[in-house]
């Protein structure tokens, strides 16, 4: 039916354009919200969610109570939701969509009986297969159940049999959860929603204490932690922190989240409060107990340093702490650049990166990008007489150089022009590192750049 026809029938109809992206986002946020029931939530098509509630139902007072709770909560949020519970995803899918009336819980073993009266569409079949079956008079699943399987498979493809078996539980069907399942998590349901930062921090400490026992039993420490805050109105906030060494101590974990929460202060919208708080260990690694030296000073200090690094990263962001990443290269900016601490540890080559055999004077500060300057030189290949950098004119009193640094052709394609570096000092005593890019003859008009500042 077109819009015109619809308007003819109901003149006051409201027309809203379809927005599949927004629908998708809504479904995803619903999936986030469903995290409160089970960590295994999968999207199904454009309008469905699979929840694997194996081992979760008892937390909500049994399967029926849980089903009711989910539907009730969704209805409260304004969704017209239908739900069903079964032993197989296929059966649950069919029951959700094709049962009239109340939401249902199909007990295990009764799939055949429950499926029989449903139309063929309940089997998640392709349209072509379904039409084919209907054209030969098979309109209900029950008709297929009694029919011999071999001819069916021959005529309508093996998918039909697979779907049938999946719904009946004869073939295992796995759903793919949206989020990785944390090896460990603890949570607390709150009767009274909380909203202030202090409350959240206190709760994190309590949860971390519970977590400590579990981590100890497994002989592990957390390398990455996630705090999930479930807001009353359905939104979920996830806060992650990383640690540089396996962590177990509740106060330290609470401290890290404290920094992160402080940093998020303005962007964290508590709304009407959070009614479920979950702390999960996203990555756990074996916790190696180390014998401290006699005084215990060195290891304590190292621990304190790594904790500070973690806290700075929690507060300022993951890329806030940088360490020099050294590479054996003659190109100055490649030789040493600052990289985030994690990245550097991964990229560090196993070989040695000692000082290069012959390196001239190097500036104490290197500009991130060489800045173009206008320079005039006495002789084409010689040092500059004067140059203009950031709108100020510098007259060169003395100069050393050139130090010729050719491009590393095995890295660059096409190779960058050769650079001639000069260490210059101006009349006032400022010392800079300039280079001329390209040799005369190699390029038409070599340009000058300022690359570093000497002490």
């Amino acid at each position: 039916m077109g819009i015109a026809d619809a308007r003819a029938m109901h003149p006051r109809i409201e027309i809203i354009e379809a927005d599949p992206d927004a629908d998708r986002r809504l479904l995803e946020s619903l999936a986030d919200w469903c995290d409160r029931f089970t960590p295994l939530v999968a999207l199904n098509g454009a309008d469905g969610l699979f929840l694997d509630i194996n081992g979760c139902a008892h937390l909500f007072g049994g399967e029926d109570a849980m089903l009711e709770e989910i539907v009730r909560r969704l209805t409260h949020q304004g969704f017209d939701a239908r739900a069903a519970l079964a032993s197989t995803p296929g059966m649950a899918w069919a029951a959700t969509r094709y049962y009239e009336g109340r939401d249902r819980n199909v007990p295990a073993g009764e799939e055949e009986h429950a499926l029989a009266p449903l139309p063929l569409a309940a089997l998640r079949l392709e349209e072509k297969t379904r039409f084919g079956l209907e054209s030969v008079g098979l309109r209900h699943v029950g008709a297929l159940l009694g029919a011999p399987r071999a001819p069916l498979a021959r005529r309508f493809g093996s998918m039909l049999i697979t779907r049938l078996d999946q719904a009946l539980g004869m073939i295992e069907e796995v759903i793919s959860p949206r989020l990785p399942v944390a090896p460990l998590s603890v949570e607390r349901q709150l009767a009274e929603p909380i909203g202030t930062r202090e409350d959240i921090e206190r709760l994190v400490l309590i949860l971390a204490r519970t977590l400590k026992g579990d981590l100890e039993r497994r002989g592990e420490g957390a390398r990455r932690l996630q705090l999930s805050l479930f807001r009353v109105d359905g939104a979920v906030v996830r806060i992650r922190v990383g640690t540089s060494r396996p962590l177990r101590e509740p106060p330290l974990i609470a401290r890290l989240f404290q920094e992160r929460l402080t940093a998020l202060e303005n962007s964290l919208d508590a709304g009407y409060g959070f009614d479920l708080v979950r702390l999960s260990v996203a990555v756990a690694v074996p916790f190696v107990m180390q014998q401290a030296d006699f005084s215990g000073h060195a290891s304590e200090e190292e621990e304190a340093l790594s904790l500070l690094a973690d806290r700075i990263r929690a507060r300022l962001g993951n890329g806030a702490i940088l360490v020099p990443a050294l590479v054996e290269s003659h190109v100055p900016e490649r030789r040493a650049r600052f990289a985030p601490i994690e990245e550097e540890a991964r990229a560090r080559p196993t070989g040695t990166t000692g000082p290069l055999p012959t390196a001239g004077a190097r500036p104490i500060r290197l500009l991130e990008k060489p800045e173009p300057v206008t320079a005039s030189a006495e002789v084409p290949e010689g040092p500059p007489l004067s140059f203009r950098w950031r709108r100020a004119l510098y007259r060169v009193a003395r100069a050393e150089g050139p130090e010729r640094i050719a491009s590393e052709w095995w890295h660059e394609d096409p190779p960058a022009p050769t650079r001639d570096y000069f260490h210059v000092e101006d009349m006032a005593g400022r010392r800079y590192w300039l280079y001329r890019e390209g040799l005369y003859g190699e390029t038409a008009a070599p340009r000058w750049f300022l690359h570093g500042i000497f002490p």
């Binding site: 000073h297 300022l316 702490i321 190097r362 290197l366 950031r390 500042i453 002490p455």
Partner: protein, 326 residues
């Protein structure tokens, strides 16, 4: 007359009181009393931490005298550069001070503690990143012990520096920023200073394109560029060459109340400053002051050649004779 004397006395007494509260030395007192330093010492100080009043000599007698014996090893020290384009000189001077202040567990020592350099993102973009190979070359700090924190906001930078200063696990902490932000007032600097004092480690506040303003740092130094001397070679100074880093330093505030202007040269081999006398020719004065102190092989290698430096001071000749005799 008697009233002014009374007032003076009261002021003196008050100053002493303030100094005691701040943990600084009373004016013009050579060394702290034993009891005082004991009171100031806290429990839980990291191993090898400097006592609140311990000093490290810079190597130049005149500057040391003005500083009251050397640079404070457990305090906030402020280094100011008037223009951002002098960032190399200002950061180089700060690193030099840090290398001196942490001499006990020097930068160059095996297993020494790391250094934390906290900078705001804007100053890193404008003045460039510290260049690790050069930091090692000039100041002996190996790259694996240099940690840089890049903060987008000043508050974050201050927080990181304060936390690091409190920890005391770094051989030095640098806080580098630009201009005269209102947030960096007396209170903020006092917090930094107290944490440095309690942890027993130096904290350096580096301010680029900034004007001196009242802060709680007991030492404030203004650094501006100075022409370097000529490079020393076996055959004497090399013409038109650029020698070791040189700084024109103005001591704007010190514990002793003395101020002064100095032209210093950094010796990247021994990690000490050498003062260059403002009078005299470029290169020659440096050579003579050095010749009087140095007992290395350099002077012996050139003693039979004509000295390029004119004999500016009488002290030079006897010193040479003595050495030749010895």
């Amino acid at each position: 007359m008697a009233r002014t004397a009374m007032a003076q006395e009261t002021i003196c007494a008050l100053r002493r009181k303030i100094a005691r509260i701040e943990g600084a030395l009373p004016e013009r007192l050579a060394a702290p009393e034993e009891g005082e330093s004991l009171v100031l010492r806290r429990y839980g100080r990291p191993e090898g931490a400097a006592a609140p009043m311990s000093l490290a000599e810079t190597g130049t007698p005149r500057l040391d005298a003005a500083l009251g014996g050397g640079i404070l090893q457990a305090a906030l020290t402020e280094v100011i550069g008037r223009e951002t384009r002098d960032s190399g000189i200002v950061s180089g001077f700060s690193l030099a001070l840090a290398a001196i202040a942490s001499r006990a567990g020097a930068f160059s020592a095996e297993g020494a503690r790391p250094v934390l350099w906290v900078a705001t993102a804007d100053i890193l973009a404008e003045a460039g990143f510290p260049y690790a190979p050069s930091v090692e070359q000039f100041f002996g700090l190996t790259p694996d012990r240099l940690l840089l924190v890049r903060a987008n906001r000043l508050e974050d930078a201050l927080w990181a520096a304060e936390e690091a200063a409190r920890l005391g696990g770094f051989s030095a902490t640098f806080l580098e920023l630009r201009g005269n932000p209102a947030r960096l007032d007396l209170t903020a600097t006092r917090r930094l200073h107290h944490r440095a004092r309690d942890a027993g480690r130096p904290v350096f506040l580096i301010r680029h394109s900034s004007e001196p303003e009242p802060t709680a740092a007991p030492t404030r130094l203004l650094v501006s560029p100075a022409p370097s001397s000529l490079r020393e070679t076996l055959a004497g100074p090399l013409p038109r060459s650029i020698g070791p880093p040189a700084f024109a330093v103005t001591l704007a505030r010190s514990r002793t109340g003395k101020t002064g202007t100095f032209t210093l040269e950094w010796n990247p081999h021994d990690f000490v400053f050498q003062e260059r006398w403002p009078t005299g020719e470029r290169g020659s004065a440096f050579k003579s002051s050095r010749g009087a102190q140095d007992t290395g092989g350099m002077a012996t290698a050139s003693f039979d050649r004509p000295d390029p430096a004119p004999p500016v001071r009488g002290g030079l000749a006897p010193a040479r004779k003595e050495r030749r005799a010895g």
